[in-house]
């Protein structure tokens, strides 16, 4: 391996057989290239899906009441279920130890919203202070609704960042401005940011205000909860499912809903959903690995194919070398040395090229469910090593056979 003379001999051969070397190298480099890109996108999709789930707290659980679809205890199907404050209070009390954050929510309907002379067409929702953490909203200006606002039935509002850019573009900050909701002035006290624009098109006011000022009574449209984070993913999923089932059971009982009537009381857990997506991304990842490994195998077959042709093409040369005193192992060594060298160089070239491409293009990809495709360098590096080893083995058989061929046979006139 460290025989300088051998290296010189090999460089000579490579220099004088550029096309052959180039083709061998190309098949190796493209194999690695495709594998790295595929793995990169597998990771990208995983990242993208993780990102999608960051919109809400990953442990959030949402309750959406609906319409009963089954007859139960003498009650007709088709009943609309309406949650009330009591349900929310009891639920939070019952599952106190399981819940980290909880917030009821009410959609304020049939109101007109104005800012100065401008009519705003954004939805108004009454929520409590914990909602910020459940929605994973970040505050860019001012503050979120707090407990004090709820107790005092404060006439305060939080707007999404998109509303700020759409409506409040003439003032320096919307904080301190007043918006008019059905004739009642609300002071803007904060601006929140979300991952997606459509979630920034809401005006939040304290739920107490929403109920009292806009005929909400004690009604609640939906409830949301966030469970405390757990380190282990499976435990988190189990916890979420456990909580979800308990909560549903309670709500079905108080509203006299058949236990198997899913449409009347929908309880949705982000964790459970995430598990499904994680399963999906794992499958995608597996698939990409499979395709990648097939690509590598194709690369190895390509290399061994080329090696066989190379050896065939060089049969005469090998015969001449043997006649001049080359030992069998020096022939095998020469062919393998060249194969390893070419495979290694082109393998790493493919690696560097594909990783550079991922590095450069990756962060600029803006497609849903694909985010920052990247690949673990160690994985890519070991793949190249595997390819080199496989290429060597693939080259060994024809090289060994060539070295064993009798000189007179290889020198026989073409």
């Amino acid at each position: 391996m460290f025989d300088l003379e051998r290296w010189q001999e090999i460089f000579d051969t490579i220099r004088k057989n550029k096309l052959r070397t180039f083709l061998t190298g190309l098949s190796v480099a493209s194999g690695i290239f495709i594998l790295v890109i595929l793995l990169g996108f597998g990771q990208g999709m995983r990242n993208g899906i993780e990102q999608e789930f960051k919109e809400d707290a990953s442990t959030s659980v949402w309750v959406w009441p609906g319409v009963t679809s089954k007859e139960y205890k003498g009650l007709n199907p088709g009943r609309s279920i309406q949650l009330v404050n009591e349900n929310y209070n009891n639920a939070t009390e019952m599952f106190k130890s399981d819940i980290e954050y909880a917030s009821p929510r009410i959609f304020v309907r049939g109101v007109s919203v104005n800012y100065g002379k401008e009519a705003l067409i954004y939805g108004v929702q009454g929520i409590s202070s914990d909602f910020q953490f459940i929605e994973n909203a970040s505050i860019s200006e001012g503050r979120f609704i707090n407990y004090q606002d709820e107790v005092n039935v404060g006439k305060v509002a939080i707007i999404g960042h998109k509303i700020k850019t759409d409506v409040f573009n003439e003032v320096e900050t919307p904080i301190g401005e007043f918006i008019d909701i059905s004739g009642i002035p609300f002071k803007v006290i904060g601006v929140y940011k979300e991952m997606e624009d459509r979630e920034e098109e809401r005006i939040y006011i304290p739920i107490t205000t929403a109920q009292k000022a806009f005929n909400g009574g004690n009604r609640v449209n939906n409830m949301s909860f966030a469970l405390p984070p757990v380190e282990n993913f499976d435990q988190a999923v189990a916890q979420a499912i456990n909580f979800k089932n308990g909560l549903r059971e309670y709500l079905q009982q108080v509203h006299t809903i058949a236990p198997d009537d899913t449409s009347a009381m929908e309880v949705w857990s982000a964790m459970e959903e995430a598990k499904r997506y994680y399963g999906l991304t794992n499958n995608i990842k597996l698939f990409f690995w499979f395709v990648g490994i097939c690509t590598i195998i194709a690369g190895v077959v390509g290399v061994s194919n080329i090696m066989m042709i190379v050896v065939k093409e060089r049969t005469r040369e090998i015969g001449i070398r043997k006649a001049l005193g080359a030992k069998p192992w020096s022939i095998i060594g020469m062919i393998l040395h060249e194969a390893i060298f070419v495979t290694a160089i082109s393998g790493f070239a493919g690696l560097i090229f594909s990783m550079a491409l991922l590095e450069l293009v990756g962060p600029n990809i803006e497609v849903d469910y694909v985010l920052n495709p990247s690949v673990n360098f160690n994985v890519a590096f070991s793949t190249v090593l595997v390819l080199i080893v496989a290429g060597t083995l693939a080259g060994f058989v024809p090289a060994y056979r060539a070295a064993k061929v009798k000189v007179i046979e290889s020198l026989r006139d073409e």
């Binding site: 003379e5 001999e9 001449i320 070398r321 043997k322 006649a323 001049l324 030992k327 069998p328 009798k406």
Partner: protein, 233 residues
């Protein structure tokens, strides 16, 4: 230098066995220039292959420069070939992607001679065959006669005990053939032992001794008055 006793060689062709050499006894002294003649199928190439350790004998003994050649491993055979023998082939057998100088230097590579020394020696032998100006040319840029001269330089470069030439003029026109023979004679004049396989009478008469092979046995072995090739050049 070369001593062969009762040499037999046969080839298996399916169920039949083809007895090619049927008991050859043959001796070559140092400094001889021997022509091995015979029509095709007479066994002359087989004999040369055995002498060149490219093929193994079935029966009998072969001694080269006092070393018995029998049951050699591939590696040992390669070593002996490199040390004892220089080959000149009918079809030249130069490596086509290597320049003339690199071709000449190749046997020295397998003798583990350092690169610089290899190059110097290669140039020295190319000069000897009159091809120094063509040192950097590839074989396909050379004429047939030039190619054969490169091949001769290559065979000489390893400084072997015996030069084996298999129809060295077979692919050349008569003028070039005489040039090549002239070169071979001059190399012989310096004391090198050379065996030439040929089926051309005039080429054979440019050697000092003619061994006639027919159907696997030596039918005639005579010393001849050497015809110098120089006069035809």
């Amino acid at each position: 230098m070369i001593e062969i006793k009762d040499l037999h060689k046969s080839y298996k062709m399916g169920n039949n066995s083809l007895h090619v050499l049927k008991g050859i006894n043959f001796k070559v002294e140092e400094g001889e220039l021997v022509a091995i003649m015979g029509s095709s199928g007479s066994g002359k190439s087989t004999l040369l292959n055995i002498l060149g350790m490219l093929d193994e004998l079935d029966e009998g003994s072969y001694t080269l420069d006092g070393v018995p050649i029998k049951n050699l491993s591939e590696t040992k055979a390669a070593q002996y070939r490199n040390k004892f023998l220089g080959f000149i082939f009918q079809s030249f057998n130069l490596i086509n992607y290597k320049s003339a100088a690199e071709n000449v230097a190749l046997p020295l590579y397998y003798q583990k001679v350092p690169r610089k020394e290899r190059q110097e020696k290669a140039m020295q032998y190319l000069e000897k065959v009159g091809l120094k100006p063509w040192a950097e040319h590839l074989p396909n840029e050379l004429s047939g006669g030039q190619k054969q001269r490169v091949a001769i330089a290559r065979a000489m470069a390893a400084e072997p005990k015996v030069l084996l030439a298999d129809e060295p003029t077979g692919a050349l026109d008569s003028k070039t053939s005489y040039e090549v023979m002239d070169l071979i004679q001059k190399i012989n004049d310096e004391g090198n032992t050379i065996l030439v396989v040929t089926h051309e009478e005039d080429i054979a008469h440019m050697c000092k001794r003619i061994v006639h092979l027919k159907d696997g046995v030596i039918v005639e072995d005579k010393k001849v008055e050497q015809v110098r090739a120089e006069q035809y050049v």
